[in-house]
Structure formats: C-alpha cells, structure tokens
Symmetry: C2
C-alpha cells in the first residue's frame, strides 16, 4: 500500500481540492494539502471519481488477443452456447491465466480497481480456469483486486464430479460459491441449491448465483434460494446475478419479492441488459437493496460485445433505467463504484476519508458528461499507487 | 458530385479491392483499378462500409457547444419535458442553424452521410428551427444529405396556429410531415391525424410520425394511421418512428399489425431503446418491413445521452435485439446504412455498383468487431468527395 498526493482535482465535479492517500487509504481531501514526504501527481483540474468496480464478469472466457472469433451459434439456446464454449476453449487451447491477464488489465486501464470474476469449473477443464485466474489475481494484486467465484457453468448436477471440483476450488481459495439457473440448466433446483448452499456452509463462504430464469420460473428459483439463505442465517452473504425475473411486469409480485430480498440483505448484480427484463434501479433503491453492476463476459464465444469499460457500463445502467437527471446519472455511476463495492461486501469506493485510495481522473465538465461520453481516463490510482495513464496500464498485458 | 479512386480496402471485411466512384456514384469495385483521371486515396487495407444513415434525429435540439446542461426534469412526464425544452430554447437563445451545424458535423465526422431530422414547429419559435436546419442542409450539401420533417413537438391541435405553421414549413421545402402521439399529446387522435394526412395530401409529401404510445393505445393510434394511409393510397410513403407498441408482449396482436404495416409498406424507425418496449428486428424482417435507425436527439434538454455515432447505434441495435452472430451484427449495421436509406425511400447505401459514392473506412479485423467497438473512422467519403479524416470533418463547426 502506497501514499500519494493528487493535487488540484474536482471531487465528483465539485470544488477543487487535493486528495491525500496514506498507506493505501484516503486520509484527507482539502485544498492546498502539504505532505512533503509523499509523492505528488498533478491533477490538472480533472474530475476525480472513485475507482470503478466490475462486480460481475468472467475473466477466464474472453478471447482478447486472439483473431476475431466468428460467432455462428447466436443466442437462441443456452445449452448450445455452453457446449460451444466448452468445446472452443479446448480446441483453441485457451490459457485462462493469459486471457484473464488481458481482460483484467484492459478493465484496469479504464479505471476498474475491484473485480468479482466468476470462473468456470467443469469436468473437462477441472480447476485450470480457477488456477489461471488466481494466478492473475496474485500477479495483479497491486493493480486490481480480483475476487473469484467458483462457477459451475456447464451444470452442477448434470455433470458428475462437478461438485467435488467446486469443493476443491473453494478449498484452494475461491472466494464465493457460484450457481446457475437451478431449473433451467440442471433441471433439479433442489439438488442444485442444496449442493451450492452445502458448499457455502462447509467452507464458510458467500454465494453468488447466476439467475437468468425469467418470470415465474425465476421467482420460484429465487424463493428456493431465499428459503436456504434464511435457514442458514446467511444475511448479507447471498448475491443473485442478473435476476431477470425481477423485471417481470407484475408490480405487486415483484414488490413482495423485493421485500423478502431486502429482509435477507441479498445483493443484486446486473449488467443492465437491453434484450431481457432486468431489475430496475429505482425500484430496488426504494427497498434499500444493494446493487452492483458488471460488464459480464467481454468478446467471448457468447457474443462479440463488451470492452471492459465500467464507465460505459454506468451509461448502460442509466439508459436501461431511463436515468436522465444529472443526480440520477450519478447514481448510475455509484452502482459502478461505491455501491458495487458495498454489494460485494467490500469497503465502499468513494472519495471520502477512510475509503480505499482508489481514484480515477477523467476528462469532462461534469460527472454526468463523463458517464455519458465514457470520457478518457487520464490517471488511475489503486491504493495510492499509479496503475494506468491515458488508458494504458503501467503493467503490460501478455 | 466528385470522382475518387479508393485503393486497397476490404469490402465489408471481405476481399481486398479498389472502389472507383465516378460523378458521385460507385462505378466499379475490383482489385487493381486503373483510373488515371481520378484522384486517389490509399485505403491501407482498412474495412470499407457504406456511408452511415441517421434516419431519426433532431438537429435543432442539441446543446452541443454549450456549457453542460444540468437536467433536473428527468423523464417522468412527457408534457413537462416538452414545456421545459420550449422554455429553455427561448431563455438560452439557441440558434437552430448553429446547433444543427454542430450536430450534423459531429455525426458526419463519424461517417454519417444521410440524415433525416425532425424539426420543431411551434407557435413560440414559429419557423425559426426549420429555417436554421434548412440553412444547415444547404451549407452541408456536399458533406451530409439532410432531409427535414416538420414536427409539431408541442402538439398540433392543442396549440392553435401550429397547423398553419406546418403548412408554411412544407411550402418552404420541408420534406415530410411529422406528427406526435395523436392520443398522448393532442388528446385528439382524429383531429391530429386528419390534419397530418391533410397536409401530406395537400403538399404531396410523405409522413413520419413519432409514436411513443405503448400497448393498446399505440395500437389504436397505429390503426388510425393505417386507415388514413390506405384511404389515401400512401403505400411506401408513411413512416412510424419509435413504434414502442410493436414491442408489446402479445405475439398474435403484434403479428397482425405487422401484416397490416407490411401490406401498406409502412417503414419503421427505431433507436433500439433500452428502457422501453421496441419493435424487434427479426420479427419485422420476417414480414419484410423496412427498418431504419437513428440516434434521436443527442445531449439536449431531454437527456444527456447520445454522441451522434451511428456505428455505436448499430451496436445498440445489436444489443437490443440480442444479435450475437457475425451475420446478425452485419444486419444491425445494414439497418444503419443501406436498410436505413431504403426505409427513407432513398437509394440504398451499399458497396455496389450504382450505389451512392458514400464510403467509410474503419479500423478493425471484421465488420462485427468494427460495430461492437465502434472502431475509429479513418476516412469518410460522400459522393466521391473526402469529407472527414480521423474523426474530424474538413468543414469546421461553428
């Protein structure tokens, strides 16, 4: 952890001030700070925002650095996409460490200082992906903090041996237990969720479950998740990613579920998707439900989209939720910074004394403008250490 | 109209070839073309795509070039947004010619060579906006073709004198008659549509109606539009912009309406919105309905979003419609180029002999990559004349 004095920035487009980071933590924000023992970065009047947080991605999947992957599978069948990915990973001989380095550094160059990555665990590749991403996490510890979720992408009950691999992944240090569409993929919601919660209970770890199931099917799976979270007293330890079903057009039904989610302090991660129903920020905010956002996989066999930019993701959160007022756009950004970190049960990323010393300097007149134009990142600081300048990390990608 | 030989480009990421434009029209596409009488541009192996088409925007509204406009109105009430805009335009003293120059050149710098702009006609500003945009259209004729729609943004029946102003706007050269939410804004669908179609009939012009009304209300208004289009024999002359109601979750109801739209060759313009229902590309394609796309207003009192980039809009079309395959992403781009021009009843923008000589050179490995990364535009050619290099037009904005 380092110390740094960032001079003359506009704190979230407000008053000009300096930011003093000592031992990795914001220690003071004020104009004209004197700290002769600390290195100095001139801020040039740029806007300072907190380090960005990608609370849902897949570092082991991207094809960054490879020739363009021609997608002829499309998005019609989830099973076909899962099979295709597992086969392509094998036939291309993708190295999860190399791919996760490329992906994490691309995201870090754009100001992300904290990532939660789901990592595929399956009986074809075993623990290779988890080993590769954990190696990346260790090597980039000073650049971007990476949390891992052991994720049974190919199913848990339908592929024998997966639960044992998940168990080993957790024993070797995966941070959370993942899960996936208990009905849709495994066709065995009880088996799937008992296994997921059993692993979490055994290892004393939290859970982050992908739930793409829509409408009443998703509501059914969500209820089964919440039953187990309540039985195990897992308040604040369960995350549901995507949660498309919360976008169903039945206000009363959704409200009742939101009350239950809030009571168990379940966190919701969203990508603010445009082609599916989605949990809505204002509705969740009214219940005090913590929301994080993520870029999800980028440029992989699932689809060509995504560039690792969490400031652009804040724009997508704004567009998806019809957030037009400047204050609303700031809330979209908060979900991609402080709010996202809180949803991950990590210290809030914010420009406040005591917060992690993660700061991004962006061009632009106002924060709203920086979000809607996803303005150039001039400087990225992680824990008081400069990690990127002008959109390029100081550490080179393989 | 000019002539130009663009050497060594990849035609839509396919084979390397030269493009010869003579007198503004693509005359030949082949490797190693000899044309000693024609100026040459080296293409450097870049991808060539057709000129982009913004089929729905509002050139008179943008606040580009002004200090950041702090939005505290939001998106809750359409009436409040309309009132706020009319008042802000007056109090800021916006010059529609200057604003439309800025907006059109920003879009042109990013490769757009054809624009359809709705232009506000109301009893506060009279014909000022139309005069300003028509001045811009004349001045930029060599850079970007601009079509105008006389648009009663503040209502037609509820503000006496608006129909007369619309009539004058059409007499002075507006290309199409606009309309707006016949139920939602005017609360008089019969009055509104009789006036709109009456003006179109009188001036022998086409129609492009904004229809944000959702669900059954939108379907009702759409039926009333189609009744009049049929009665006046206006096949291929009516466009419905936005058409949110076609995204309602009632397949049979929507299919029946699509059949009716197809029979009258009505065209649909979409922005691929993320926070509202929307017409879906594959569903409309199945009926052969022509689709165009647009950026809508950018950075105006309605909201902070938008940057004038129709290649990014193609990405939004792809995301909104869950288009993941390379061939599908190319369809998204087609809607923002050739398909968009066809929807405007203009010559198809395409890299084919006989098409307008509008060509954009973009970086990237494949067209899909260029779309999803909205890759840098290296060169823009309009009618055989170079209009922009490296994202900047040769004509400066005021």
């Amino acid at each position: 952890m380092s110390s740094l004095l960032i001079q003359n920035v506009r704190i979230m487009d407000g008053e000009a001030a300096d930011i003093l980071i000592r031992d990795g933590v914001v220690s003071r924000i004020a104009p004209g700070i004197e700290a002769p023992d600390v290195p100095v970065e001139p801020g040039g009047g740029l806007i300072a925002i907190p380090g960005l947080v990608d609370a849902h991605t897949h570092l082991d999947k991207s094809l960054l650095g490879w020739p363009w992957y021609k997608n002829d599978v499309g998005g019609a069948s989830l099973t076909a996409m899962i099979e295709n990915e597992r086969n392509m990973k094998k036939s291309l001989g993708l190295d999860p460490h190399v791919q996760s380095m490329r992906h994490a550094l691309k995201t870090a160059a754009l100001g992300t200082t904290l990532i939660r990555s789901h990592v595929d665990i399956d009986t074809d590749a075993g623990l290779r992906a988890m080993e590769g991403v954990m190696e990346t996490a260790a090597r980039l510890a000073d650049v971007v903090e990476i949390e891992t979720v052991a994720f049974p992408q190919s199913g848990l009950m339908i592929r024998e041996g997966t639960a044992e691999l998940m168990d080993r992944a957790l024993a070797m240090g995966a941070d959370l237990v993942g899960g996936l569409d208990p009905c849709g993929v495994d066709r065995d919601p009880k088996g799937h969720l008992d296994t997921v919660f059993g692993l979490a209970d055994k290892h004393g770890k939290g859970i982050d479950i992908h739930l793409h199931e829509r409408g009443e099917l998703g509501m059914f799976s969500m209820d089964m998740i919440l039953d187990r979270a309540a039985a195990l007293g897992m308040h604040g330890l369960v995350t549901i990613s995507h949660a498309f079903c919360l976008g169903m057009p039945d206000f009363q039904r959704v409200e009742a579920m939101l009350e239950r989610l809030a009571a168990l302090d379940v966190r919701i991660m969203t990508t603010a998707p445009t082609s599916s129903p989605a949990p809505l920020v204002k509705q969740l905010d009214a219940h005090g439900i913590r929301i994080g956002a993520g870029n999800d996989g980028i440029q992989d066999t699932w689809g060509p989209y995504g560039n690792g930019d969490m400031l652009e993701r804040a724009k997508f959160v704004g567009l998806r939720n019809n957030l037009r007022m400047d204050a609303e756009v700031k809330r979209a950004l908060d979900i991609c910074t402080g709010g996202g970190a809180e949803a991950m049960a990590r210290p809030r990323r914010a420009l406040e004394t005591g917060a992690p010393g993660d700061v991004v300097l962006v061009a632009g007149e106002t924060v709203a403008e920086a979000v809607v134009t996803h303005a150039p990142r001039k400087l990225v600081v992680k824990g008081g250490r400069v990690t990127a300048r002008d959109g390029a990390t100081l550490v080179a990608a393989p």
